[in-house]
Symmetry: C2
Subunit: 340 residues, 2 copies
DNA sequence: GTGAAAGCGCTAACAC
DNA sequence: GTGTTAGCGCTTTCAC
């Protein structure tokens, strides 16, 4: 900047004013400065600017794993929202390990952002106090905390209840959940929360629960595929399956096809998340669609309120996103597509 | 840091030495400093550190769109590789627009990283000179440049050739490419490059080309679905289809099912990229698998060589990743799965 | 083993 | 309109 100033015959301050678009610079001066900038290929050093200004204009997003359609979508939505507010978003991966998530809020570099959105999946209740304090943090994800923190979460239990009730309305009476988990009341992971909604729907319909139908599985394609094989081998036929996630449900569709079980004729299947491919599977997948946009809006709003300090330090918010059912072929009343 | 130093009864310099794990600090002193750090909940200001050191320990990754399985995978692999070398990775989205990609290398903040990996998809040959210069940049993606830049790219043409040849070996003679493009020799986008490989395979097999079988489509699920409908409506039956990407191919499988066309009995389908869901579709998708790991290795290696300055400034490298065919059900010689 | 001085590049506040 | 001063928080250098 010194060099630019010298070449343009002005002070560094004037260069700064030009770079930042401040109004009170004479056009002729501005012109000379711009020429010097171009001639020297000058770029402002944002590190120095951040140090001076005490803010970076960056918010961090820490997610378990970018290699997952849900987090990819989330990242895109948050980047768009943040850009509209003049912030850049920087994405970090926690690897879905507790240390990674703790690291994200502890590690020094993330501290250099103006705020952080942390999608937690393994933090325990006991860790929640770390999330409080002066540093602006909004927590997303499947966990709910007793400790007050700014938190945006999905309607996990409600969504699973909707999904299961939909199967019941379609006539299913023997319904399994793959990727579910019979956790303790303290457990707040996505498998346990969604299983609660499943159990509640059964209960409301007066259907007796059978814990053998709650199948633990890794929440991915292969977990769904092998999970449905294990279910059929060990427990026998069912007429409805809830996939704890869409990835599990896609694996379930695949596994059922390997067993020559027809969907939706013999078994109806519903997923959760509405990942993009869900509309294009064969058969297409009925699923629970969370209000992704609403969540992204809420997250950015909460975080910016914290950064600006316009909300009292002890005024924490918890926002639960809406969920709704998207009906597709996998739970159709009649077979809608021609079969080969 | 001043506060910590005062509380520990030492100078800021000693605090710095402790924080950075420098050896020549007496254990007792170190202990006092660590206690003061804990008591005051001190965190180093990485912005100031970066300003002083002239390096940030961060490399930027600019991709068109995180909401895409390929880029999610790429981001994960690069983050892992970079972490092993002591670098953090920060992900930016360019929105697959030329301005976004130019912005990624022009914008000041990205300049504050030690280097950038830019996955270009819309930069033209004319823009390539921007990628040269002192700032460490490695370009990935489907484009090839005449200008010398460090560049890691996929074997697009070779992969499409393999895919098409595989269909021919399976007996297909009327083969379409969906998401293809008959570009000019100067065009270096993914659709055009892959179409070249397709045309070459046809040529090598002595099959006459029919340009109506090269179908332009948006490279996504819906592009594949509607593209195959349009193909069948406008050109009539085919016995083989190359999807320019796996997403297109998955849409094609869906579209064919909507037309009650059986895969692989009536039409064989092959994709490109080996996205995770490709092994779980019905039928599972034969595809071209790029050497993702090899690409990630090469990118990080090239970039670190640039950052460290160990390679001469005018010594640019271009690395083309290997590709291979992954055979699955969509091109099977016989129908391997039970049909509903 | 520890500390003092200096400066990385920028901009807020204030002078002119 | 433009310039001067000062300092953001840290670490390199060198002295002790």
């Amino acid at each position: 900047m010194q060099d630019v100033a010298r070449r343009a015959g002005v002070s560094p301050m004037t260069v700064s004013n030009v770079v930042n678009g401040h109004p009170h610079v004479r056009p002729a001066t501005r012109q000379r400065v711009l020429e010097a900038i171009a001639a020297l290929d000058y770029h402002v050093n944002t590190t120095a600017r951040s140090l001076r200004q005490g803010r970076t204009g960056v918010i961090g997003l820490a997610v378990p794993n970018l290699d997952h359609p849900y987090f990819g979508l989330l990242a895109r939505l948050l980047v768009e929202r943040a850009a509209a507010e003049g912030y850049d978003v920087v994405v970090e991966q926690t690897g879905a390990r507790r240390e990674g998530e703790l690291g994200a809020i502890t590690r020094s570099r993330l501290r250099s952002y103006d705020g952080v959105v942390l999608h937690a999946s393994e933090l325990a209740n006991a860790d929640a106090e770390l999330l409080r304090g002066e540093y602006p943090i909004v927590v997303m994800g499947e966990r709910a905390y007793d400790e007050p923190v700014d938190h945006v979460l999905m309607g996990n239990e409600e969504g699973a209840r909707l999904a299961t009730r939909h199967l019941i309305e379609r006539g299913c009476r023997r319904i399994a959940i793959i990727g579910g988990r019979l956790g303790s009341p303290d457990d707040i992971d996505v498998s346990t929360l969604r299983t609660r909604g499943y159990l509640r729907a059964l209960d409301e319909a007066g259907i007796a629960r059978d814990d053998r139908l709650v199948r633990v599985a890794v929440l991915g394609f292969e977990g769904g595929r092998s999970g449905v094989h294990a279910l059929l081998d060990e427990v026998g036929p069912v007429d409805g399956i809830v996939g704890a996630t869409d990835q599990v449900a896609v694996g379930v569709l695949r596994g059922l096809r390997e067993r020559a079980v027809s969907v939706p004729d013999e078994v109806r299947v519903v997923g959760f998340d509405d990942i993009p491919v869900a509309a294009f599977t064969v058969p297409s997948l009925t699923t629970i669609e969370p209000d992704h946009d609403g969540m992204a809006d809420a997250v950015v709003r909460l975080l910016l309120e914290r950064i600006s300090g316009e909300r009292r330090a002890d005024d924490y918010r918890e926002i639960v996103s809406g969920v709704w059912l998207v009906e597709r072929e996998s739970t159709a009343g009649v077979v809608r597509i021609a079969l080969a």
